[in-house]
């Protein structure tokens, strides 16, 4: 069935998320929708799926104009979606998730047997092995995604939207997903593939539409080069190469010694991991999201207590220290999710800048906050870190993502550091701010700070790191030089130990 979007416009307050977007997807075609984070891809798909209503524009399916009031309408019309954050209920079984919203019943009672049969039937078509009675929360991420696909197919979707489906997958799982997508295409399904990863687009797409800042900026064929696509996507040449001198590493500053961490369910998310970061070098931790990087970073700060192993800071054991002591010992911490863990949106920039120094000097005297001192400091940092804001007393929530992140970086780098742990330091940040933040991190290294960068963006790891440690299933599968080729890193991210 042919999908046609005509002139879709969607605004949120003053933000125009989609600006007169046209898009056509033919049956038996994989149409990639390429764009940066925040370009408006997900908004467009939410409009298509009935989760949002467009302000203007038309949706046509097989030539018929559609009016979706909710996802139910879209589903009935034959649109299926594999969501970036899986829309599965963790405590339900596979079969229960499959039938939710479209329940087979006998009288008022659910017909579980027929739902089970449906799971097995569709699984068999693609060679999946899925237990219909397994609870979602007990399944690995890759399998959960397959349940999402089965769920869409069980409703006879003829247009299937994949929203950033590879973010949580290893390169191998990604390859398998690509072959599933081709299989679906060959069976006549129209596929929309939303992504910001150039390599995947060129590998699988039949046609490519690029959007930027809510507008379609061009179409491209899969034969286009990476550079051409990237230029379309960001509007100018991407230059993720950071100018930096060779590292001059000093003493072992951060030492992780046989660290093991369990999550609340007992999964060993970090398993017997050892790693050393020296003063004046940047060690990057590469890996697919969800392989223990988050927990590792949180353990260094003292937010998570390891099951066993030691964390040494310049020789001092801080394994069981609370965050306060770790911060005081000279650790800077840029959390991977700034709005969740890094900032308090309703606080001002100034208040956020003193967040990790709320106990004593320089901002607190006799239990009282020194307003004048804080204001002076905030004005200075806003200037130094190029935070674009009308005033340091502006609420942080009103700043753009890049400027918010600069506030976090400014706060962490304004203390005397021995170690900087930076998780996803530029996630959701505009290109200009990325360059700025990267330069600050390199400057910290040159000043003798031991830097640990955790990122799921391989480009970022490659641009910043002096050494790269690849993490897989809670272990470090190898530590390699910063200029290791991408293909090699990809294999390691899939769990292949490096032949030293």
């Amino acid at each position: 069935m042919r999908l046609e979007l005509r002139g879709i416009t969607k605004t949120f307050g003053t933000l125009v998320a989609n600006d007169r977007i046209d898009l056509t997807v033919e049956p038996g075609e994989i149409h990639a929708l390429l764009g940066e984070n925040g370009a408006g891809k997900s908004t467009l798909m939410n409009v298509l799926y009935g989760l949002l209503q467009a302000d203007e524009g038309q949706i046509l399916l097989g030539g018929q104009e559609q009016h979706f009031k909710g996802p139910g309408d879209a589903m009935r019309a034959g649109i299926g979606m594999v969501h970036q954050h899986f829309m599965l209920i963790p405590v339900f079984t596979v079969a229960e998730n499959l039938m939710l919203g479209n329940e087979p019943t006998r009288g008022p009672v659910l017909d579980l047997a027929s739902a089970r049969r449906r799971v097995l039937e569709i699984s068999a078509r693609f060679g999946f092995q899925i237990d219909p009675d397994a609870r979602i929360e007990d399944l690995p991420v890759g399998v959960q995604q397959r349940v999402e696909i089965i769920k869409a197919l069980s409703r006879d979707a003829r247009v299937l939207v994949f929203d950033e489906p590879t973010a949580v997958l290893t390169p191998q799982e990604t390859d398998e997903l690509m072959s599933i997508m081709r299989q679906l295409r060959d069976a006549g399904t129209a596929i929309v593939f939303i992504t910001h990863k150039l390599r995947e687009v060129r590998e699988v797409a039949d046609r490519i539409t690029v959007i930027r800042l809510g507008q379609v900026v061009g179409e491209a064929s899969p034969t286009a080069t990476n550079a051409e696509l990237a230029t379309l996507m960001v509007g100018r040449e991407v230059d993720l190469v950071v100018d930096k001198a060779p590292a001059a590493p000093g003493a072992d500053t951060l030492v992780l010694d046989r660290l093991t961490i369990a999550d609340p369910l007992g999964h060993l998310v970090v398993n017997d991991l050892s790693l050393t970061v020296r003063a004046g070098e940047i060690v990057g931790i590469a890996g697919v999201q969800g392989n223990g990087q988050t927990e590792l970073a949180e353990a260094i700060l003292g937010l998570v207590r390891p099951l066993s192993g030691r964390i040494l800071l310049s020789g001092e054991d801080v394994t069981k220290s609370p965050p306060r002591r770790v911060l005081d010992a000279g650790v800077g911490f840029i959390p991977e999710d700034r709005t969740e863990d890094g900032l308090i949106k309703s606080f001002t920039i100034a208040e956020n800048l003193m967040l990790d120094r709320s106990n004593g000097a320089p901002f607190v005297r006799f239990g009282s906050i020194r307003q004048a001192e804080l204001a002076r400091f905030a004005a200075e940092k806003v200037e130094e870190f190029d935070v674009r804001t009308p005033s340091p007393s502006e609420q942080v929530g009103r700043l753009s993502g890049g400027n918010q992140q600069k506030v976090v970086v400014a706060r962490e780098l304004s203390r005397d550091l021995k170690v900087l742990v930076a998780s996803q330091p530029t996630r959701g940040v505009d290109v200009g701010s990325i360059e700025f933040i990267h330069k600050q991190i390199v400057a910290a290294r040159d000043a003798g700070v031991a830097v640990l960068v955790v990122s799921t963006e391989l480009e970022e790891i490659q641009a910043l790191s002096d050494r790269i440690a690849v993490m897989y299933h809670g272990r470090i599968v190898g530590v390699v030089p910063g200029d290791t080729p991408r293909e090699r890193l990809g294999l390691m991210m899939a769990g292949e130990a490096v032949a030293a």
Binding site: T11, F12, G13, T14, L15, V16, A17, G38, L213, G214, L301, L303, P322, P323, R324, V326, L327, D328, F333, P335, E340, D341, G342, L343, I344, K345, S346, F347, E351, M354, L355, D356, S358, N359, V364, G367, S368, I369, G397, R398, L399, S400, G401
Partner: protein
């Protein structure tokens, strides 16, 4: 909702529209509309249950004016009594006597203000202390125990009672805080349960032979001695030194919340506990401290109820609904120290006015209804906006149709 970063500015909304938004978002108009609407509902209730109105309504079609007159009479009578009791008694011989009503209102507002300060403090820390009743009972019990159990000089006696009551309330608050911090038990559930545990403990202590039981046949404490009572501020007026204490505590809570390092951490934990924890703030300690401070303030309100307001032997109903009413005061005051002082005085007027309404033959429970309605309307500015003809998402109703 606010997840959308304001990267692109697609022109300002029209000036008229923005002004409307600002007025409707502003607290003061919402507050006034809430109060007016609530009083309107209260008036309807008074009118329909009034026997004179019911009688006149029986021959409404014959003489409709009678019904309207009866309605006016019942409502005007009720609110006149309310005014005489809560603000100024215009029937009194002198101004000094007339203003006794307002002094009484200040007197009755004292425990509300102090308890609301405690509950508002937890709101700011992202916590919800519904344990006001239990903490008041604990404060009153232990403060009372100091009053009739020890022999201390004037001035010192109530001060010691206040301190001991504060500690007792703080203990109960800290239990909820500690359970929240260390086991994740929801403080709402725990404080509700602690209310009943405290109530049963007090009932037990007031049983014959119990540690707080007085001489009489009813389950009441012994009378507190004169030395332990809160002194009156002016001869002939009921307002006591407790009201000065309430103002001092308001100032203290203002400094704590808006100016101190502890308050900064408390607000940080309230707004975003994960970020506070990542910034090295000990969220568990802050949770316990906030609940303990809150319990201490509410406990002081309990002492005030026993030794400032009641001044006589008291039983297990000493809290007199203050524990829950203080929640509404804290909400009305938007958890800002001076806002809670003002809201407390307003509700003090309600409490004093209700007494006069009862004397005048009206049911004083209507005051509780009006208070609850005010908070309901206040809690939902979108509701008021909707009554105004604007949809919850800020668009005019007409725009969609």
């Amino acid at each position: 909702m606010s997840a959308v970063p304001p990267v692109i500015d697609a022109g300002q909304p029209s000036r008229m529209n923005a002004a409307l938004q600002r007025i409707l978002n502003g607290n003061w108009l919402v507050g006034i509309v809430a109060v007016v609407l609530s009083i309107l509902v209260g008036s309807v209730l008074i009118a329909v249950t009034d026997s004179g109105v019911q009688a006149a309504a029986g021959y409404f079609f014959a003489r409709p004016l009678d019904t309207i007159a009866a309605i006016w009479e019942s409502i005007a009578g009720a609110y006149a009594a309310f005014f005489r009791g809560g603000i100024f008694d215009y029937r009194a011989a002198t101004f000094a006597e007339g203003i006794e009503s307002f002094a009484e209102s200040l007197h009755r507002s004292t425990p509300l203000i102090i308890a609301a300060l405690g509950i508002g403090l937890t709101f700011r820390a992202g916590l919800f202390n519904i344990g006001g009743r239990g903490q008041i009972l604990f404060g009153a019990a232990f403060g009372g125990w100091i009053a009739f159990g020890t022999d201390l000089p004037y001035v010192i006696h109530p001060i010691v009672a206040v301190l001991v009551g504060a500690v007792a309330g703080a203990f109960l608050g800290a239990v909820a805080g500690a359970l929240k911090a260390f086991t994740g038990a929801h403080e709402v559930i725990v404080t509700i349960m602690l209310n009943f545990i405290a109530l049963n403990l007090l009932v037990w202590a007031l049983n014959p032979g119990g540690p707080l039981r007085g001489q009489g046949s009813s389950p009441l404490t012994p009378p507190p001695p004169e030395s332990s009572l809160f002194p009156f501020l002016f001869p002939g007026y009921s307002v006591t030194a407790g009201f000065l204490l309430a103002i001092a505590l308001t100032a203290g809570v203002w400094w704590l919340l808006e100016r101190s390092s502890l308050g900064f951490k408390l607000r940080a934990v309230g707004e975003n506990p994960a970020a506070a924890r990542t910034a090295g703030i000990d969220t568990k300690a802050i949770t316990i401290i906030a609940m303990a401070l809150s319990g201490a303030l509410v406990g002081i309100a309990g002492v005030e109820l026993a030794l400032g307001e009641t001044r006589r032997p008291f039983g297990s109903s000493i809290d007199n609904g203050v524990g829950f009413e203080a929640i509404t005061v804290a909400l009305l005051g938007r958890s800002r120290a001076w806002g809670m002082l003002a809201a407390g005085i307003l509700f003090g007027i309600f409490r004093a006015g209700a007494v006069q309404m009862r004397i005048a033959g009206y049911s004083d429970d209507i005051v509780t209804v009006v208070q609850a309605l005010i908070v309901l309307f206040l809690a939902a500015p979108p509701l008021i906006r909707e009554l105004w003809g604007v949809r919850p998402d800020g668009r005019r109703k007409a725009a969609k149709a």
